[in-house]
Amino acid sequence: MTSEVEINNPSKNKLARIMVVDDEKDILRIIKRDLEITNEFQVEIFSSGHDALNSFRAHESGYYDVIITDIRMPRMNGFELYRNIKEMRPDTKIAFITAFEINKDEFTKVLPSIDVKDFIIKPIDMNDLIFKIKSMLAS
């Protein structure tokens, strides 16, 4: 598997930088396109947790404004990625996107610190996703 790291466009420097992690390439493509088309976000997409973590580690603190990751991924899943990132930079804003049926109890069992409001269920309505990201940026 190869990572897909979009090279930043200097003209978008002021835009919020969003990291999106999902093993479904079709989903990555849709999210990137639909977020960037608003001209408010700069989106970097990764098809595995490893690639995402490497990129996160390679950049300075605050480089990514918001991280959105899938949960069910090969090798490193979304929760592991979450833990690794939080260990490095606890104040990083992370949300999950998942196609699973979610209930709070099941997730608090895995990661007690996660708030259920940080879950976004697929299929994602793009307007909802944008609203969610904006509220995270504002907090």
Binding site: D23, R29, I30, R33, R72, N77, F100, I121, K122, P123
Partner: protein, 604 residues
């Protein structure tokens, strides 16, 4: 039964009962014995005092009957007249008649020892005795010498009848020193004895004896001993050995002129009280009177009490035995109760155990239910994931395209990626739909096979090309990294072509999924079993991750997937299809790397 009853406690109880019984018996026996001894002692002392009184009375009686004889003799000795013998004889006859109950006769003997007259014997017969010389007889000699009365001991004459003689000297009235003969009275000892015996109170039930002061027996119950010395052989031989000592010393004491009463214990423990009383005549101690009183009453009382004692002891023993029996019964009953209780306890425990087992069954049923529940939830989760995931890119592209029409355009530009993404994801949805349908069929046991004859080789080739197309569509780079090897071989089988295709495609896509880099090789082997049936074994070997050991046991169950895409239903469906064909499906990890999946189905 004995061994069952004789537990430690029970043995103790039994010993206790036996001990109490035996102690009671011994106590009772002992107490009865004491009582018997006391009563016999009281009886004995009563007998003793009675005997003393009786003997005293008897001695007085003796004196009372001897006295008239003495008096008669004394008078006769003074009035006999040699010059008038006939007249004197009348007096002598009268005297004899007055004491005839005791005396045999009175004899008048002159100074030369010749008979002058005999009471109640006529003078002609007396004359025939006149030549008998009696001058050497003690009843003649002693009064002659002493001028005093004489009382003989028992003397046997020629006729073998023991007699007692009392004699008084006839002395001249004017000259007391002038001895002129003796007057003798003879007393048949048997008569005396019978008299004394008859005088004895019947309650005493004893025997009378008379002995002179020298120890010669005058009268006794055994006539042969009369006249015998008590220490002589005849008497001693009749005294039982064991009482000889005390008896002899008693007799010796009795000859000292004092009254006494002593107990002799005879053989067998019988007691006899011997009472002795000295008899004084004319102020001289002459004889000793004996009365022997066997302690018949005491012995009888003793026997009675002994009987009582034995009876009560026997009763106590019987009661003890009954108590023992009851104790035994109670113990055995207890034992039976105990074993009944034990049996019931065991039953209860068994019931409890079966309840526990039942609970375990319930638990495992519950567990199965909860597993089922979990699997159901898992299915929903996976179904949700698999349904939602493809929708997003389809909907995303469709909405994106639709938005472009909002600008009033009648045509929008669609790139190839958008179209193939929509197709790819739609196919994914179709695959899920068919999987769910298959599962439904399998679970409702309505999976139908449409068997036909076909070449396995054809469907393998088509599966390989389909999987390659899929790889190109989803990850073109992967195709460069993996090779799919298959040596073509025509193998005709009779099976459900679509289902077998489904199995091969499923196994192949599994291999591709877990082999990012390496090779996948497919081979088909023909074989037969022991029954001669032909089988076709297809294997798909990869060099991928291999199967997680954790998964292997449930590899072919639903949702066993460790992959991060797919429904986790593929292998379950494959297994169901192969089993429906009467075949077998299995998998193993390779020694080096990767795994090999096999399925074997009958050729026909």
């Amino acid at each position: 039964m004995l061994s069952i009853i004789l537990s430690r406690n029970n043995v103790f109880l039994l010993i206790l009962v036996i001990g109490v019984g035996v102690s009671l018996s011994i106590l009772s026996y002992h107490y009865s014995g004491l009582t018997a001894d006391q009563i016999s002692e009281i009886a004995s002392s009563d007998i003793r005092s009675n005997a003393i009184i009786e003997t005293d009375g008897l001695s007085k009686t003796l004196l009372h009957i001897i006295d008239p004889v003495s008096t008669n003799l004394e008078i006769l000795s003074k009035i006999v007249n040699y010059s008038n013998i006939d007249e004197t004889k009348i007096i002598i006859d009268a005297v004899q008649n007055s004491t005839k109950s005791l005396t045999e006769g009175y004899y008048w003997i002159d100074e030369n020892g010749r008979i002058v007259s005999i009471s109640n014997v006529n003078s002609s017969i007396v004359k025939s005795y006149s030549n008998i010389d009696l001058s050497n007889r003690e009843y003649f000699v002693i009064p002659k010498e002493t001028h005093a009365s004489y009382y003989s001991s028992a003397i046997e004459s020629i006729d073998k009848i023991p007699r007692l003689y009392i004699s008084f000297p006839i002395l001249d009235n004017s000259d007391a020193d002038n001895f002129k003969g003796v007057i003798v009275a003879s007393i048949k000892i048997h008569e005396l004895g019978r008299f004394l015996q008859s005088e004895l109170a019947p309650q005493v039930a004893g025997n009378v004896g008379l002995m002179d002061k020298n120890g010669v027996i005058i009268y006794g119950s055994n006539p042969s001993l009369i006249g015998k010395y008590y220490l002589g052989e005849e008497f001693q031989s009749l005294v039982p050995e064991e009482i000889r000592g005390p008896y002899n010393s008693l007799l010796a004491r009795s000859l000292k002129g004092f009254a006494g009463a002593e107990d002799l214990i005879l053989m067998g423990g019988n007691k006899t009280t011997i009472t002795y009383q000295p008899v004084f005549i004319g102020g001289k101690y002459l004889w000793t009177l004996f009365v022997s009183s066997p302690h018949q009453l005491a012995a009888e009382v003793g026997v009675l009490i002994n009987n009582q004692k034995n009876f009560s002891t026997l009763m106590i023993l019987i009661i003890g035995a009954v108590a023992l029996g009851i104790a035994f019964l109670i113990l055995s009953w207890n034992k039976r109760l105990e074993s009944a209780v034990n049996a019931r306890t065991i039953e209860l425990r068994d019931a409890n155990n079966s309840l526990i087992n039942y609970n375990k069954l319930l638990e495992s049923a519950n567990e199965k239910l909860s597993i089922h529940d979990r699997m159901q939830k898992e299915f929903i989760n996976i179904a949700a994931h698999e349904l939602r995931t493809p929708i997003m890119p389809i909907l995303g592209d469709a909405i994106f395209l639709e938005k472009q029409f909002e600008d009033g355009k009648t045509e929008v530009k669609v790139d190839r990626e958008q179209v193939s993404s929509i197709i790819r994801n739609a196919k994914r949805l179709r695959r899920l739909a068919s999987d769910i349908l298959d599962i439904t069929k399998i679970e409702s046991q309505s999976l139908k096979l449409n068997k036909e004859r076909f070449n396995l080789n054809d469907i393998i080739i088509s599966c390989i090309s389909d999987i390659k197309a899929q790889i190109i569509s989803s990850d073109p780079d992967q195709l460069e990294n993996i090779s799919i090897d298959y040596v073509q071989k025509d193998v005709f089988i009779f099976a459900d072509k679509n289902r077998i295709t489904q199995v091969i495609f499923n196994l192949l896509s599994n291999s591709v999924k877990f082999t990012e880099k390496g090779s996948i090789s497919i081979s088909v082997e023909l074989g037969n079993d022991i029954h001669g049936n032909n089988y076709v074994t297809t294997s798909i070997r990869d060099t991928g991750h291999g199967i997680d050991p954790e998964i292997i046991p449930r590899l072919f169950t639903k949702f066993a997937s460790k992959s991060f895409e797919g429904t986790g239903l593929g292998l379950f469906i494959s297994k169901s299809i192969i089993i429906a064909h009467g075949g077998k499906i299995w998998a193993e990890n390779n020694v080096d790397s990767g795994a090999t999946f096999y399925f074997r189905i009958p050729q026909e």
